[in-house]
């Protein structure tokens, strides 16, 4: 029977291939998302691990507040001296490197006079002690490390993209106004080919401290003497450092650094998998439809098999096997297509300004397992109802022309209405329940949307009859007999017409979803700003949330034509154990911001919450 089923599938291969296309797409999205995010993840991993490759322990300032622009506390020169004198320490070196916070950021100014920045990617400004190369996470590519107050090393990728060479002069703006530096070298971060959209400026420690307005170091890397374990070194160091600092093994520190990136990656992954899921959902509908039609066409063949002694179970198995084979083939193709898609997506994100770090692609086991299992499972589940229907083909259909399969009562319009009702309730709960944005409400929303689609699919046959008779009026007028036939065909088997239209319905729902999502995000930001700000102009950093120099406020106030400017500074602070927003305003000018003739300006070392 297996052979019979597979040979039958082979005979209908063109139809099978077309059917499988939707599954191929869905699986490709899934496998592509995994390859892409695993690859990004690996690139970040190597950034973080190469930061500490010759380090045993890391001493860093404590994080006092989440999402603070100011970053963590720093560790002083005195602490560094004390660490160096600790018994089991072979070497220690301080650096200004804060991969997660905003505290070591310096904008490179491009040839057009604008900050080199892409979509919120970090613009790192590091201070590194190059006298101890073992702790240096960076690799020099050209030239030499900065030795003087007006020297900088920039990352090789930015140098190439922005056409800067060793010996050129480049502008840098950190906490103060723009200054000019001479590029004395280019570097890469460990072995990472691309930092994504991030830029990197590396200074001497004193220059970095001055530019970033920081005292001491953000991180001290420590190497143990031979034979001393990292754990022992850490416990020794804990006795030496003040309460404002923390000591971790290099491994712990790397994991800590990864946290921020991990949530970003899981966001991208979730986003892409969402699309993959929708594609698979559409695919399931298509498979369901095609197999239903195939089963109907094969009524006599299936009945003949029954008369020759095939059991219902065998018929069921043969149709399930068919969908299994379609699913497996589609999933394998989709899996491989996903590998290509991952590259394409990476370029697409790049084109949208969201450049992602690159390294050789990662093909993890879970990519293979999840893609194949998901693709096959969805196809087999979608094929199950047609398979059940095939078992109801009576043997007598082998001898009787036009025998119809007895249908069990299908999920009727009533069930559709009930489903739609439940869906409406869920969506109402999600949007009006007062918990909008919480996990529970999102789940209710997703479930509601899905049930809504199924509900509409349920009562669609009723709609079709009504719709077709309306749409059919012009068709009959213009198309004559052909138009009339078309209308009759559409209404003759409303269930069939409806299920054919279902794939289109889901496609449209998807387009609407993306459009509403995009519009919704814009709309909410627009409304929020319009409600709060009556000023004519608002000055922010290029990405809209990063801090920018306080001097900008004074510069704007002096500009001709500006009647009034008011600075706002904000950051996160802590009261007791609670994190709160702290805003700094100028009471004299902010009160006038309601006056339409005056200008309000937001500036200062402004940060916003990114919760």
């Amino acid at each position: 029977m297996t052979g019979v089923a597979l040979k039958g599938l082979l005979a209908r291969r063109v139809r099978a291939i077309l059917t499988a296309l939707a599954i191929v797409l869905g699986v490709a999205m899934v496998s592509g998302s995994f390859v892409l995010t695993d690859t990004i993840s690996k690139a970040f991993d190597s950034i973080f691990t190469s930061s500490y490759s010759h380090t045993d322990a890391v001493v860093s300032g404590r994080k006092l507040v989440d999402y603070s622009t100011g970053g963590n506390t720093t560790v002083s020169q005195t602490v560094l001296e004390r660490i160096k004198r600790t018994r089991d320490v072979a070497a220690a070196s301080g650096a200004l490197i804060d991969l997660n916070g905003d505290s070591t950021h310096a904008n490179l100014i491009g040839r057009d006079g604008k900050a080199i920045q892409s979509n919120g990617n970090p613009t790192f400004g590091f201070g590194i002690d190059t006298s101890q190369p073992r702790f240096n996470p960076l690799k020099l590519k050209e030239g030499h490390w900065a030795t003087g107050a007006h020297q900088v090393v920039i990352d090789a990728e930015t140098a190439k993209k922005q056409h800067f060479a060793v010996g050129d002069t480049i502008g840098v703006a950190a906490s103060g106004p723009k200054e000019s530096f001479r590029i004395v070298g280019t570097a890469t971060y460990g072995d990472v080919k691309s930092l994504g959209g991030a830029t990197l400026a590396v200074f001497t420690i004193p220059t970095a401290q001055r530019l970033l307005d920081l005292h001491g170091y953000s991180v001290i890397s420590v190497a143990a003497k031979p034979g001393v374990s990292a754990d022992r070194l850490v416990s020794e160091l804990k006795q030496e450092v003040p309460a404002s600092a923390q000591v971790r093994t290099a491994k712990e520190q790397a994991n800590e650094d990864k946290q921020g990136v991990a949530s970003f990656i899981s966001f991208i992954r979730g986003f892409l998998l969402g699309f993959g899921g929708i594609a698979l959902f559409v695919g399931a509908f298509v498979i369901f439809n095609t197999l239903s039609i195939t089963v109907a066409h094969r009524t006599r063949e299936l009945a003949t098999l029954r008369t020759l002694g095939a059991s219902r179970r065998q018929v069921l198995r043969s149709v399930v096997l068919e969908s299994f084979a379609i699913g497996l083939a589609a999933s394998v193709i989709g899996l491989v297509a996903g590998f290509g898609l991952a590259r394409g997506l990476s370029s697409l994100f790049g084109a949208l300004g969201l450049t992602l770090p690159q390294t050789s692609s990662v093909y993890a086991t879970h990519t293979f397992v999840i893609s194949l299992v998901l693709g096959v499972l969805v196809t087999v589940l979608a094929g199950f109802v047609p398979a059940l229907r095939a078992t109801r083909v009576p043997p007598i259909a082998a001898v009787r022309e036009g025998a119809v399969i007895q249908r069990k009562k299908r999920l009727g319009p009533a069930a559709g209405v009930v489903l739609f009702g439940i869906a409406s309730a869920l969506i109402a709960y999600a949007t009006l329940g007062g918990h909008f944005g919480s996990g529970k409400s999102l789940l209710a929303l997703a479930g509601g949307a899905l049930l809504g689609l199924l509900g509409v699919a349920g009562f669609a046959p009723v709609l079709v009859t009504a719709l077709a008779s309306v749409v059919g009026i012009p068709a009959k007028r213009l198309g004559g007999a052909a138009g009339g036939l078309a209308t009759d065909n559409a209404t003759r088997n409303p269930a069939r017409t409806a299920s054919t239209a279902a794939a289109l319905m889901i496609g449209l729902a998807l387009v609407t979803f993306v459009a509403v999502l995009g519009k919704g995000v814009h709309g909410s930001v627009d409304r929020a700003v319009n409600k709060q700000v009556t000023a004519d102009w608002v000055v922010t950093s290029q990405n809209g949330w990063s801090a920018f120099p306080a001097g900008a406020g004074r510069a704007v106030a002096k500009a001709p034509g500006v009647a009034l400017a008011s600075d706002i500074r904000s950051d996160r602070g802590r009261i007791g154990s609670a994190n709160v927003n702290v805003n700094g305003i100028d009471p004299a000018s902010i009160a006038s911001s309601g006056d339409r003739d005056r200008t309000q300006r937001w500036s200062g070392s402004t940060a916003t919450e990114r919760s």
Partner: protein, 259 residues
Amino acid sequence: MNAAAAALSDERVLLDHSPPAVGAHAIARRYGEGDTAVDALRGVSLEVPRGQLTAVMGPSGSGKSTLMHILAGLDQPTRGSVEIAGIEITKLKDNELTKLRREHIGFVFQFFNLLPMLTAEENLVLPLTIAGRKPEPAWLEQLLESVGLDDRRKHRPSELSGGQQQRVAIARALVSRPTVLFADEPTGNLDSATSAEILELVRRSVDELGQTTVMVTHDAVAATIADRVLFLADGQIAKSLARPSQAEVIDAIQEVAGQ
């Protein structure tokens, strides 16, 4: 007659004291309900003796197809009972019917009903494949030879003529050595020359293999190869003839139709 066929035929003779291949008792079949109800069969009783070819004839609407469907377990009578090899089949569950079909019933259809994606040989052994059994090579060769498709075994149905397809279908019905073979208008879709070949093959399978056969036909020529011909009219057996000539068959048809 070769040795294997002879042995088989002997076996059938020995089993002659066992119940008839097919027995029907007062079967009636009504379609629909109330005013629109149609009685296709109104009490038919018959016995199909083993090793014989029984033909069922009658004008359209006489109930001959319904009779065959009920005898073969494809349809259920409204009243009455049917036995195949002593098994009462009208109350069987679906999987019991499946078992019955595998062991006791072979089918030959008017439109051949071969599976288009399988070769002649694959179609031929399909009942065994479905039942999870392997064909005995000698039996398979004998069948292929006797239906004259030795050189066509790798051809698909689309590459075979109508007559060749029907021969494959007959071999397929014989392959599991069923208690009874039901042939539904086996020549209904063939020209007269090809029909003659097919009828010769059906007759030969009865003679050489002792294959009990029930054949529904409206073709007077076809009926002449039967050991016994039953004439149906208005859902009842109107006449029965043993080994009739063509002329006798035609007379009987007219007599029955004129009632």
